[in-house]
Every structure is written in structure tokens, then in C-alpha cells.
Subunit: 161 residues, 2 copies
């Protein structure tokens, strides 16, 4: 499986932001990513081998009512979209942690897309070369259904003084 085949569009190369470039309320949009049944089952086999992520028939009898992607697969694809231009940070996307929720299951054929907003920007007191940026990302499908809400604490470098 080559996930790049699923990327429906490239985010135009955006200038990479340092901490100093970011303001609360700044917003960024990712490209789209088509998640198909083959990918959903492959991820599940490897990391989350439960019937509702592996088998249509078995999934019908569960809370999901049909085949659904592992939440960790949705999270991983969200990261892929952020790294692929959806969140253009200098130094890359380095998370210290965060919160995550999956309001609705991701289904085969869903096209995932991520909108991200800057929530806070905090220069480090002890480390003049970097700081902490909190962002809130919403992963939705082509129908506007919210599949994942996440808040990340990211380590972002400052411009050289």
C-alpha cells in the first residue's frame, strides 16, 4: 500500500512558520486523503485487529453497525495530512501530547481533510530558541461529518535572534 496514491491534492507549498510568525486564530487547511477499505483493514490487522475494523459482516453486529477505521488510523492519516502541508511549521510537527476524540466513525470511501486553528502561542522562558504552540484540528469527511477533534501541544522553534 502506498498512501501517497490516496492523496487527492497537494497542498500548495506554504512558507514555514516559526513561533514568531504565529498568532492565535491563524488557520490552515490540509489536502484531502481517500481512505479505502483495503487501507482500513491493513491498518487494523497490524494495530487494531478487532472485528468492526476487519470484517463487514461482523461489524454489522457491533456498536459501529458496519466497517469502520480504527480511531488510531484516523489519527495517523490526520498526522499525514498535517505533515503534508496542512500545518506548515518550521522544524516540523513535534507533538508533546494532546487530546483526541472521535465523534463519528471513519468509513471506507471517506475523504479526510483537516482544518487547524492556532489556540495559543507561548515562548519558552527557559529556552529562547523555541516555545509551545497549541492547535486545534478538526478532521472531517467529504460530507462535512466530523471524524476527529484533536488538540495538540507542539514544540515550535523561534526565529534566530
Amino acid at each position: 500500500m502506498n498512501s501517497t496514491l490516496s492523496e487527492l491534492s497537494q497542498t500548495p507549498a506554504a512558507p514555514l512558520r516559526y513561533l514568531d510568525d504565529l498568532q492565535v486564530g491563524d488557520r490552515f487547511s490540509s489536502a484531502g486523503f481517500l481512505l479505502d477499505e483495503t487501507q482500513i483493514k491493513a491498518f487494523a490487522l497490524q494495530f487494531d485487529p478487532q472485528p468492526f475494523h476487519l470484517d463487514h459482516e461482523a461489524a454489522k453486529e457491533t456498536l459501529f453497525g458496519g466497517l469502520a477505521a480504527s480511531g488510531w488510523h484516523t489519527a495517523a492519516v490526520t498526522m499525514r495530512l498535517l505533515v503534508g502541508g496542512g500545518l506548515p511549521l518550521a522544524g516540523g510537527i513535534i507533538g508533546a501530547g494532546g487530546e483526541i476524540s472521535w465523534p463519528q466513525p471513519t468509513r471506507p470511501g471517506d475523504i479526510l481533510q483537516v482544518e487547524t486553528e492556532v489556540v495559543s502561542v507561548t515562548p519558552s522562558r527557559s529556552r529562547p530558541e523555541r516555545g509551545l504552540v497549541v492547535v486545534r484540528s478538526t478532521t472531517q469527511n467529504q460530507h462535512g461529518h466530523v471524524l476527529q477533534l484533536s488538540v495538540y501541544k507542539l514544540v515550535v522553534p523561534r526565529k534566530a535572534q
Copy 2:
């Protein structure tokens, strides 16, 4: 890559717990899982293609100081260990969301193992057949370094009345 090859031991089959069987403070232990460089790079290529997850030399120049697994890879392996006997829940492990942090990077050669504790058990008021269980999981390596702390809200079925 067949991740089952990395599972160093099988958790003995434990009886599956319903919500009614769980008490605050109950603890569960997973098997171990060896994460090697090949797996780390393969996951990163697919979901988190950043230099510190892909290349030893490039990683030296970054905050990580050397090759490190994507946090989402650590999260996915943690899920694999929970599903593989580390958290024996009736109905499977169905998460509505949670919190996650990565105090230290996961390195090639790390053997991941997960300890999980029940934090709260709340029968649903509107749904007599299920409830919400909050658990706290600690993923550590063979040196006792904590690689991931996570708190999950899980939907757990009740025994048939």
C-alpha cells in the same frame, strides 16, 4: 511486515470483563512488543514522513537527537498490545477519545509494554446495556522509561440483565 513477529509473549487468555466486572483500581498488563528500525521507518513513511522518524543522520540534528518513532506509532502499538490481551474487555476496546502524551521518544529496539488501570466505571443512564469506563495506560520500554501516558474513555457493555 508482520507485526505479530514482534510480539515477544502472549498474554495468557484472560476472562473478558463486562462493565459490571470492573472496579476502580483494577490493573491489567500487556505482553511486550519489539519495535525495530524497519517498522519505525515504514510507519513514518506512510503517516509521519519527517526526518527524525526516517533517517538516523538527519535525526541527530533535531530535537530528538536521533531516530525516534512517530508518537502515533507508539499509540498504535499500545493499541495493539491492549487488543492483544492487555485490556480484556467484553465487546472489544471501543474508544470515544482521550488524552495522550509522549514524555520520551520511542527508539529502535525498544520493547513496549503497557500497564492499564481502571480510573472510573459509569453505567449509562439512558443505555442500560452499556456504560463508560475510563482507563489510564502507561506504555514503557524495557528500561522502565515511560514512552506514553494515555487516558481513554471506553464504551463497555454490561452483562445481560
